[in-house]
Symmetry: C2
Subunit: 162 residues, 2 copies
Amino acid sequence: MSASSDALQLPAFNPDDLPEVRGSGYPEPFRSRMGDRGKRRLGDACGLTQFGVNLVTLGPGGQSALRHWHDREDEFVYILSGEVVLISDSGEQSLRAGMCAGYPAGKADAHHFINRSSRQAIYLEVGSRIDADRAFYPDDDLMFVDDKDGKPRFAHKDGRSY
Amino acid sequence: MSASSDALQLPAFNPDDLPEVRGSGYPEPFRSRMGDRGKRRLGDACGLTQFGVNLVTLGPGGQSALRHWHDREDEFVYILSGEVVLISDSGEQSLRAGMCAGYPAGKADAHHFINRSSRQAIYLEVGSRIDADRAFYPDDDLMFVDDKDGKPRFAHKDGRSY
């Protein structure tokens, strides 16, 4: 695809031309749990600010995130290839290419994907960007706080910073 | 896919299970120009309110929209299959599966897709939902106004309603 993508100019672009971001903002021991996960930041690449769009590749054993929900931000995911297991309060569900899921802001149904297959899965994730959003992690001693007077940070559930 | 999609429960779902919305909110003679275009409203189906996500099928000759830009809303599109021609101030560019485009709010680069191929194209479109957004159509005698004291409406460029 690179031959033709060389010709694309904004507002169009080819995700193959973007760097893949590895790693996670979580503190350890949570970061390592994400496993083989890479993201290309499509929304940022074309100057969007109101929502983020990431093209995510998730290798066998990888996780999209810790199981979590946001109190102010809507999220949406669409599977492009491979298969992932969605874990939420509805239990476990296998999602294949063409299937999707959405998580309205403030709905306390914590969710994440795990790739339990033997091949890579690829999906799009979209999330709005709202000030003072918080994320809750029912399975882990972690919370994400975006205080007005400080920078966003991860903390223990008792408020101590990591 | 329907056999397995029967088992999906929110927050997951299969777009195949949603109704396809045909037609357009444009007044004539603009509406007819959209041609063979159908949308499945994925974001609405899972209760999202901060942005819309549509799965769009565009038949040969179909158009995504009139060429336009929004003053307050970010937009993003990702091609899933087939090929479309993006028309913007950068000229004409062919986009195939895996390519994408994004349009930041307030950037006066009017854009749309036309399907000039002989087969259906499918893409995802994402757009934020912001009050009092306006859309501008440089090629046509049309504007979209969302006045504070009225309901959103299409008008001629001189302000007369259609």
